[in-house]
Amino acid sequence: MATRKKVTIDGNEAAAYVAHQVNEVMTIYPITPSSPMGEFSDAWSAVGKKNIWGTIPIVYEMQSEGGAAGAVHGALQAGSLTTTFTASQGLLLMIPNMYKIAGELTPTVFHVTARSLAAQALSIFGDHSDVMATRQTGFAMLCSNSVQEVMDFALISQRATLESRIPFLHFFDGFRTSHEVVKIEQLAVEDLRAMIDDTYVKEHRKRAMSPDNPFIRGTAQNPDVYFQGRETVNKFYTDCPGIAQSAMDKFFEITGRRYNLFDYYGAKDADRIIVIMGSGAETAEETIDYLNKNGEKVGMIKVRLFRPFSVSHFVNAIPKSVKSMAVLDRTKEPGSIGEPLYQDIITSLSEECPFDKMPKVIGGRYGLSSKEFTPAMVKAIYDELKKDKPKNHFTIGINDDVTNTSLDYDKNFTVDIEGMFCGLFYGLGADGTVGANKNSIKIIGEETDNYAQGYFVYDSKKSGSTTVSHLRFGKSPIKSTYLIQKSDFVACHQFNLLEKFDMLKNVKNNGVFLLNTPYNQEETLKNLPERVIKQIKEKNLNFYIIDGYAVAKNTGMGSRVNTIMQTCFFAISGVLPKDEAITKIKESIKKTYGMKGDEIVKKNYDAVDKTLENLHKIDIKTINDNNVEVPPIVSDKAPEYVKNTLAKIMEGLGDDVSVSEMPVDGTFPSATAQWEKRNIALEVPEWDPEVCIQCGKCAIICPHATIRIKAYGDKILGNAPKTFKHMKAKGKEFEEGTAYSIQVAVEDCTGCGLCVEICPAKNKKEVKRKALNMIPQIPVREQERENWNYFLEIPEFDRTKANVTTVKGSQFLQPLFEFSGACSGCGETPYVKLVSQLFGDRSIIANATGCSSIYGGNLPTTPWAKNNEGRGPAWSNSLFEDNAEFGLGMRLSIDKHNQYAKELLARLAPQVGEQIVNDILNADQTTETGIYEQRERVGILKDKLKKVDSPEAEDLMSIADYLVKKSVWIMGGDGWAYDIGYGGLDHVLASGKNVNILVLDTEVYSNTGGQMSKSTMLGAVAKFAASGKPVGKKDLGMMAMNYGHVYVAKVAMGANDTQTLRAFLEAESYDGPSIIIAYSHCIAHGINMSKALENQKAAVDSAHWVLFRYDPRNAAQGKNPLKLDSGAARIKFQDYAYMETRYKMLTKSDPKHAADLMKLAQEAVDEKWNLYDRLSKEDKN
């Protein structure tokens, strides 16, 4: 019998573990939450891990899921065992090929982390909406409910597909299963070997296309035979369930784990059952045990094989005692009679009813987008089934106060599992809390007999993000697939999170509370919120404190308190004997950091040793009450919707938002980020007017729009707060008596320091001091809040008077993109903000899915704002792949409105007057003044229209605003522009339509975690290019220039802000397609984000990033349209590249290969420069 290891891994790793060993080719495309499966596979192939036939599988990244499915289809047709991994919209993009693959009876398994589909909103979280959209493709569908099952079913499905020839979609719940780390038994290679019958592998190969045995497949068929051809597969589908069951039987023989197509669990004589698929079944199982122990008779059917649906297997699984059943779907099919599983169950029972009297069957929806599904909800469903007339088509887990579908449930009902330890850890992303907890689970799971489970909740901000880790340990397998409701242990790794979360609400009496505090004991107690003190006392908690920051600082760990807090956890919790735990932590440190060098290991060891002497237990009797109140989540001045609804989401109470509080069509107010004061910066910039030269560079580079500039009449300064700073405005353009202020929104600042880096003004007495200097935030928070509020009251600068062609002048314009949740020091947002400043009051934005759509539109708030007139960017995200087309559609619509408005205007001239009609139709809208005047005219027109009683006047009234110029911006990252959206982007460029495309080029997929794109540079390391990208970067700019009619610019704000500004103004003014490719430094480059402007400069100085503007208007005048704005290389490419981890890491893992690639990269850079240089010097006459 094979020896099987116990491992603590997540669902993605479990699936990839099997898939990598039973396939030859894997073509993938990253999409959350499935990306890690491809990444694991790639990493394994990169280190030479072989499959069960002793060969290393090829892992290949494609340009889209559509591409991945096409490549799978091709690889299958050519005879390889092939797989892919995907989710959500990615799976939808595979549907066309899924029909083909199934239609041709081709064995394969797609492993899918089931995820919500973008409907009223995108969601990265788990439900079955995506997989249910493929149930008609002909794929078999097998569902895993837990991480163990993911590994098991990955193998069972592989065996079944090979034998049945029906392709399988093996799915499990996104995040809840794909990202839950849990202890499981890992299948041995012998198990895999024993399950895969090579006879079928050879048959698969035999059916492959080969010129040595030629045939054609993929014909076109006519009405005479298509129908018959479609019916040929019936027998295969009839046989498939039996084959799947026999694969399960074989698996049982090998491993002792028994699965069936439909598994019944619960009382043999149950009167009520539920039918369910996915991770919710685990929670149901836990609840069933509890309820049956307490005298109830309940059970459940776990549906494993959903397609082909075997009616006979299903009806045979139902206990005859059942009186009522609830069928639970984790999806929504609006307009249907019921969701898919419900419909299938109803149909099954009507076709083969095993009962004399048909039981009551109701259907319900639960758990959309990873909505919690708890024992309380399971109990509520069983309780509902007791009723004579249970609610059909119910929902559970939400409060549907509109159509009243929801079942009530007792939120206080929990199921206590004996001997299970539950711990909650609140931390910051940056402090390494999650990493440490994953490590703890591994220690406990792999080094002890305990079972262990970890699930991690992240917030949707990329800067200052908080994490909550849910850890469970126990002597029996853990079935709790929901967040911890009652904890034995709570650790707060960041003092100020005590204000944000009511984290002691659910800790048990006599539990443990561990607090990382920047204060000593006395100060800690003085600063604890009163709420916390009360809870500590009431619950008689064991309260420990440590100044983890001091320990981290003293041991060279910087701000990462991970190892320190992990040591505290083991020291206090008693999960392991202390000494043993310390030894295990150190072993694990060696394992985790060993490859990064001895110094790192040593630092971590030091941190462990120093921790224990700094950990103190507080005698809670000594704690006095204080009056520290938790501040309100949002200001009282906020709009009602923000105060009543969005604030709940900010507070982590979004589950309490009712259906009626949500918009029906996904429309939310803009300008809401201003109310979410996150106070995440430890240090913020302080303005020194004595030194300032009023250049505006700090404001243009600020990624979060927290540095603002205003010039205004100094008379209003009489009301200014005492500490409000101002100086005389410098420059001839200002009238006498004009004051100038730079104000920092310290509560919104992320403390990135880019403003300080770019500031060119230095103090003459002490050059380290600039016009902006970083200072601690807390001491100035109150004062600067007052100053900021005062600053907001100062009138905005008159747009028509700003010289927008200079950096200085442009920065008087109000940003209409502010306080986003982007990474601190983000390289993309300064460009986005610039668009909002220059054109925001007339722009419509199509935003591709990616970083920019997340920091732009992830609830609770949006940074897209509006000005005092109520105008601002109208923003929307459609999908990832269609953004260029989405934007073009907007353009077409705007053009149509404009055209129709002009037609109506002409028709209505007699009623509204020739003069205004002519003025509007002939208006020059090329300047801010021109646009302002046109708006005034349209205002007059509207007044006149009010007095005209005609349908045409009403019509014109509804579209009159389109007589004012509108600016369409199509934004997204390089993943969109170079890869998945390129086809559309190319078409839009070719269209000649007046759209502006902004490519936020980070040269890598940033939002999904650093996968290679076609923009990735030769030699750079990225996921799927672990050995450095071997081929060059696609030259999107050159491709766009080829059209001749496209305005093209390549910019890098950190290297040349004036050129950037010019490019944006020129692009927008060009009446045709424009594309700006903007160098965006990124956290995925592995750089110092506060010094990232140096990287931008170096990218330009090395001629890797050639700044240019290609303006077709110049060609029309006989001039060379291409103007280079940067010169020949002043430094070598490697001098730039090795400033960044993405290039440098290869020199540490494979120096020889790194050197070879660097040589090629330099040649590519030189060649490209020569080409650009030559083109820019061509005489067009």
Binding site: I600, V1021, T1141
Partner: protein, 332 residues
């Protein structure tokens, strides 16, 4: 004509030894240096801080931003093993030993005894014929006593000497209160050679950006005067070999250093500026000069103008300063 010399027990065919510099970065270049006539090579320095820094930097940037955001729990692929510092250097020493016949002298630059010892041992195991220790220490702490600084040098040397079999040279700073006493202490502690002196690169001020900028200027012959004086003073008074470095550009510079008492002369700037061929030229000129003046060996010249051997030993002392000043005034 016998140009051979002995340095730390190593028998060298002539006194020209290129010092630690980028010249030794590639095997090919070292081969060229050998072909040009160099009698040994001091390999570029392994910097302790660099190893620590690079490891820390990689760890920081690879983990920065990870486990924070649900869609991007990491930003880099799981790489295989990373090599920091010594491995590459050690491999290089190994390769050099296989490729050239001249002695290969490893060089370590740093300040901590712990890290040094480990790397020194690895350099020895890689086959280096000797080791040069370069304590590049700028004592900026005004609370720190000079004796404490001296102790750092002695501590490092002691530890390494105890654990290494190959000869060890100490590259020194000229800024000791009592240079000759310090040299003696190092000699007593077992230093096989003293390299005079470390050339500290002095930063410059950029008046446009108001920044302190690193500035690497190649040396000039004038700069050899400082080591020249101290080699002349130390020659014959300590057991350790003496290597002259800084400002040696011509055969005359070499001769002066030898006459002052150096066992070898280490060239760097001259080769970096004018190519490897300068080694051949200087050797040729040296030979010619010796022939013309009927010197038969380097050994004969060595120390012939050291403080002990010159008619006016005070010329290396304060009296020389007075004289120089007086002469200077006369020139005005």
């Amino acid at each position: 004509m016998d140009l051979s010399t002995k340095y730390m027990g190593l028998k060298l065919k002539n006194p020209i030894v290129p010092s630690a510099s980028p010249l030794s970065k590639t095997v090919d270049m070292v081969k060229r240096v050998e072909d040009a006539g160099a009698s040994a090579i001091v390999v570029y320095s392994l910097f302790e801080e660099q190893i620590t820094h690079e490891a820390g930097e990689l760890d920081h940037y690879m983990s920065y931003g990870t486990e924070s955001f649900a869609e991007a729990l990491s930003y880099f692929p799981n790489a295989s093993e990373f090599n920091f510092g010594p491995e590459e250097y050690i491999r290089h020493i190994n390769n050099l030993k296989a490729a050239v016949d001249i002695p290969v002298i490893g060089s370590l630059n740093g300040v901590s005894a712990g890290g040094w010892l480990k790397y020194a041992k690895q350099i020895e195991e890689a086959g280096a014929d000797a080791l040069e220790l370069n304590v590049y220490y700028i004592p900026t702490n005004i609370e720190k006593d000079g004796a404490v600084i001296e102790e750092i040098y002695l501590r490092d040397l002691n530890k390494i000497k105890k654990n290494l079999k190959i000869p060890v040279a100490m590259k020194l700073s000229p800024y000791f209160s009592s240079m000759s006493n310090m040299a003696k202490k190092l000699d007593d502690a077992g230093a096989d050679g003293l390299v005079l002196f470390n050339r500290f690169y002095q930063p410059d001020l950029d008046l446009v950006d108001l920044e302190v900028v690193p500035n690497l200027e190649l040396s000039s012959s004038f700069e050899m005067r400082l080591p020249l004086r101290w080699i002349a003073i130390l020659h014959g008074r300590i057991k350790a070999s003496l290597a002259a470095t800084t400002g040696i550009h011509t055969h005359e510079d070499v001769i002066k250093m030898l006459m002052a008492g150096a066992d070898i002369t280490c060239l760097c700037s001259e080769i970096l500026a004018n190519g490897v061929g300068r080694i051949t030229e200087i050797l040729k000129d040296l030979e010619k000069w010796m022939e013309e003046r009927e010197y038969v060996s380097v050994e004969q010249m060595k120390g012939s103008m050291s403080q002990k051997s010159v008619a006016d030993p005070a010329a290396f002392e304060r009296a020389n300063y007075m004289k120089a000043l007086n002469n200077y005034k006369l020139l005005i």
